[in-house]
Symmetry: D3
Subunit: 125 residues, 6 copies
């Protein structure tokens, strides 16, 4: 039971949305175009969007960014990955990035638990 | 209105000052000389100190260090940069460093808002 | 025509094999186990090995390691990815990692051309 | 006196233990083996374990991971290093890694103070 | 006299142009848009393009990418910076990024010498 | 037998010395002081200089800089470390930094072989 912790994920979503809004309000064409490019990178293309979400998660893990990990974990669960699949991707990130990734692995495990409590993890793995 | 958040910037300044004091108290000649070198790097030289503060901000952003970003944002506003100029520098950091910089861009936007509320951002941009 | 360049890929394979042999000859149990763990991370598991090769490529690209990129490009072409799919994965790496990834993107494009000349890229994309 | 801060170190230990447990519960052979390899890397070998703890601390500092720094500071104090020796290692990390390491140096100094308050720093340096 | 070395800079320009062409030939909309965004980031905006070239150089130096450093050194000399100004920017990069930047500082010094031999460094500094 | 390769280490030493000379000729007080600080960081202090050379090697390996690795390998062999001890330190770097360190581990193994051929590795390990 990490019920009170659930606020951590809700707080992140709220802060992320507010922060992105502030970035948009700065009204810089380059920033706006980058955000657009970022969104488009995960849409279906030569590779399915679902596969690219997993690439985004692994890249975020080896670059050690918790906010990026949380965002991509949410996208990966929406795309239908099971916990076992996500953990297998995190194992690649751990091997590539080393033990310095472990604190982010712990963070990801907690986020997965929070997503599961919300019912966002479709299939238990 | 992010008034209560203002504590975030005040807390940072206090923690930074206390932490630097603890570093000095360790009384290691190498650490002291490094801190001195760090201070001198941003003084007027072949390039004006003002320009070098912007270099410090961009370097901090691509290396993804929020404390360093906050410190250099404060120095940049003291040096007289407008919000529009700072945002334009952050755009270079975003393009060079990629979407992994976005959480730090959001952080910087909030810090700029806090600096503006304090009246530290001289000119609105 | 980059025929003479073909040596670059052959040289890499030879140097990589010789280097790995020297690592094994050092006869350190930790190093041997790590190499074993590394090999196993890309085998079929909760995720297919094919998917994990693409994760390895993307992680290598955002961490900016040309040798790792070349190795995973070779594995990805063996696993059956088309050029278009590999380029789509590299686009995710570029967006996540920023323009600092571009020299490695250029390197990857040349490697793909060399792999194609060898007949290793099964389907043209 | 940073007595209330003492919770920071206790909270870290508790969160670290719980997080590691969640990682183990994911029941992925690769993750388990990596954790095992990580533990073994710091045991007596050609180099004494004590020396390797200091290598772990310095690596954590230049890679800028506070959780890793806290863990290795605790291990280094258990291994018998004095504050002066730890600070001398952190100076190498600062010179190699640059001013971007300074926020982590401040963090380490506070952790050392907390460890000293607990009586974990055997010899004052 | 490093006349024969001059090939290094010429070779880089040629390889860079050819590599960028191969990237464009891959015909991926995301890659094309990113390259466009990258070019635009250094055009006059709230900050002059000249200032942003120096930001690009410093970001490239702390992220330790020789190809990016060479490209931005060339752009900085075209924009009219003197050697003394460029060296002052590299000093900020060294302090922020640490001794791990030194091999790239040596590389930059050689590139500056090559640019000077070509007559590209307008004013000696 | 990698006799012809011996040029690689000799070339590195020559290029490093020439590059450092060019940095000194730029006559920037900050750069000179940084180089001085860098030299002093590895002198006997609270920790013996010998221990700090090993810290420098490990930091260079996790930050993935071949020139820095070669320099510190040479310093470590001068300080009297055996091959087995150096390999044990590299194992810590591999575990902390992950498989992305492997190309640098291969490089280090070759450098150690070159140092051994020169008779610089005092004790075979």
């Amino acid at each position: 039971m990490v019920k009170k912790e659930n606020n951590r994920l809700d707080d992140f979503r709220k802060a992320r949305a507010e922060g992105n809004e502030k970035v948009m309000e700065a009204n810089h064409l380059g920033l706006k175009r980058f955000f657009n490019l970022d969104t488009n990178a995960y849409k279906d293309g030569a590779l399915p969007g679902k596969t690219k979400e997993l690439l985004g998660l692994t890249a975020s893990a080896v670059l050690r960014c918790n906010d990026c990990i949380d965002y991509h974990l949410e996208q990966c669960t929406k795309a239908g990955y099971t916990k076992k699949e996500i953990v297998d991707a995190m194992n690649v990130a751990l091997v590539v990035g080393g033990s310095i990734v472990i604190p982010h692995l712990r963070h990801a495990m907690e986020t997965l638990e929070l997503l599961d409590q919300e019912g966002s993890l479709k299939e238990k793995g």
